[in-house]
């Protein structure tokens, strides 16, 4: 990469220039915007729209790489089918992605790159530039520290921004990022910027109250399939699927065909699915391999612990979304804690 050690600094206006530069370079830029009481990755044209002090968005940036619903191809019944959605998406720049989400994207990258590659995801991903943002605060539901996915990251971004109080530290993470920073004429940052960043990270680390260490969790969970915590938690679980739909590492999808009213042409669609839903494991003639709520809840958590099918690729990065958006206040870190013999 060469010059990864090269650091830059800028001010708010500089960030705005960065965004403008990306836009004029053909990127659609998305950043965390506050609406109501929540944050969302929305299209932005200025840093003024962005809340650089945000905690977490409702949906992770996953929505732009692996959208909730997308067309796989179009078909005509007379003469076969055609892949109409040639994977040539517009270039996207994700501005302000937090470390946990960066790590989640890395996992999805790995997952969708496995043979056979997923052309839809990868085409989008290749057209995506990622500008990370070190968190400025940690709330009671963040636990990336114990997952090793934050608050400090060294990969997964083209540029990483850190608010060091009197300015912004900009670290390139790729050749593309470096080039961009140079082209904007940002000044090089001195050591005091790195020190300030380090101090911020140390402060952040101290404010974590939630933890779910990875070590041995997958194996432990798999050996405790009959633990009472599964059934007890399932009594509260609404099987609403929110936890997995907001999860940055959940990737499961359903596929179905939609015919036009002429019954001659249509599209095949894929749509985000969730293993918490009854229909997910349903097969013909009413069979279902995970009919019980606790089986589904357990399967989902095993996956997040790294023990189920998704294994490494979909294990938890500690963003806290599933806890925040669970209507039943189910907290997988508590379940992990109980499996480890606590409470």
């Amino acid at each position: 990469m060469g010059g990864a050690s090269q650091l830059f600094k800028t001010d708010l206006e500089g960030l705005d220039r960065l965004i403008r530069k990306l836009r004029s370079g053909g990127y659609v830029v998305y950043g965390p915007v506050k609406q109501g009481r929540s944050w969302f990755f929305l299209e932005i044209d200025s840093v003024k729209q962005v809340d650089l002090n945000y905690v977490r968005t409702v949906l992770p940036p996953k929505k732009l790489l692996h959208p909730p619903r997308e067309k796989l191809f179009e078909f005509k019944l007379d003469d076969g089918f055609e892949v109409s959605e040639k994977p040539t998406p517009s270039a996207v720049a994700l501005f302000g992605v937090h470390p946990c989400d960066l790590k989640a994207i890395e996992r999805q990258d790995e997952f969708f790159s496995q043979t056979p590659e997923d052309p839809y995801y990868l085409a989008r991903r290749r057209n995506t530039l990622i500008i990370g943002l070190t968190c400025t605060r940690v709330d009671e539901n963040c636990f990336c520290l114990s997952r090793g996915t934050g608050p400090e990251v060294s990969t997964g971004f083209d540029i990483l921004i850190t608010d060091v109080g009197n300015g912004y530290l900009l670290e390139p993470g790729s050749a593309k990022g470096l080039e961009l920073l140079k082209s904007l004429g940002f000044q090089e940052a001195g050591d005091e910027y790195l020190e300030a960043k380090q101090k911020l990270i140390e402060e952040l680390k101290k404010s974590f109250t939630k933890h779910m260490p990875s070590e041995g969790l997958a194996e432990l969970a798999k050996s405790l399939l009959d633990h009472e915590v599964w059934k007890e938690t399932a009594e509260r679980c609404l099987s609403c699927g929110n936890c997995s739909l907001v999860c940055p590492t959940c990737y499961c999808f359903d596929v179905y065909d939609v015919l036009e009213l002429n019954l001659r042409s249509g599209v095949r669609v894929r749509e985000l699915d969730s293993c918490q839903l009854l229909e997910y494991a349903e097969v013909a003639l009413g069979g279902n391999f995970r009919r019980n709520r606790f089986q589904r809840l357990r399967h989902w958590m095993l996956c997040k612990f790294g023990a189920a099918g998704g294994g490494l690729y979909s294990s938890c990065v500690g963003c806290g979304r599933c806890i925040v958006y669970c209507p039943a206040s189910i907290d997988l870190t508590e379940v992990a804690g109980r499996l480890r013999g606590g409470g």
């Binding site: 997952f111 699915d273 089986q295």
Partner: protein, 274 residues
Amino acid sequence: MNPYVPRIAVIESIVDETPDIKTFRLRITDGGFSFVPGQFVMVSVLGVGESAISISSHPDDAEKFIEISVRKVGNVTGSLFRLKPGDKVGVRGPFGNGWPVDKAVGKDLLIVGGGCGQGALRPLILDVLRHRDRYGRVEILYGARTPQDLMFKYEHDVWASVPQGCLLLTVDRVPPGVEWKHNVGVVTRLFEHVTVDPANSLVCICGPEIMMHFAVKGLLSMGFKGDQIYLSMERRMKCGVGKCGHCQIGGKYVCKDGPIFTYEELKLEPDKIL
């Protein structure tokens, strides 16, 4: 290559196997196709959807055609039943790992099929017939609900006449007036006639999950080891390429890591059924 886009196949002929199972012979229109016994394809009826179906013909014929044997149970399978020779379907694949044909070289084979699971086993049986010298003793056990629910009846004579082997048939019940010379009862009841040597053989099973459950139990008690028992598993499947997640059994993907697993691999997975 976009793994989600099917290739076009033309239905060349259709054989009625049983009242609810048909075998379709398909020609892939854009050429080359190869697979190993036990692999499956994703078959599309466009506008209705896609289903995982095992290939029931022999790999040597794949350049010319593949066959699939389908039981009518729902939307896609029901729609397939309405198609005629000349109609087109979509095919993706082949997917999955296949039966352990290499490991089986020189070993005895016990093949246990139930219901429409026999479709997935047929390529293996055909392989035994075509390459008889590769395998040791080969015993085929096959059970269905009634005599008329047995698939591939037209081939049973050939299967039965394989040297150093046997074909044992059984049905759950015989409707009045139907002639039946073979056994009655669940397929595991045939185990008492099995003569292959548990120490030097592999078992390949495909059938309803409940049948496989009892088969494994019986085989273990007969002295077979978990890693000698191969099972072809069925799960909901949407992509066939290890992405959609539906076919997971605990930590495994049926479409990529399977559909054929040894009992050893499965026994510790959650949602254990066996």
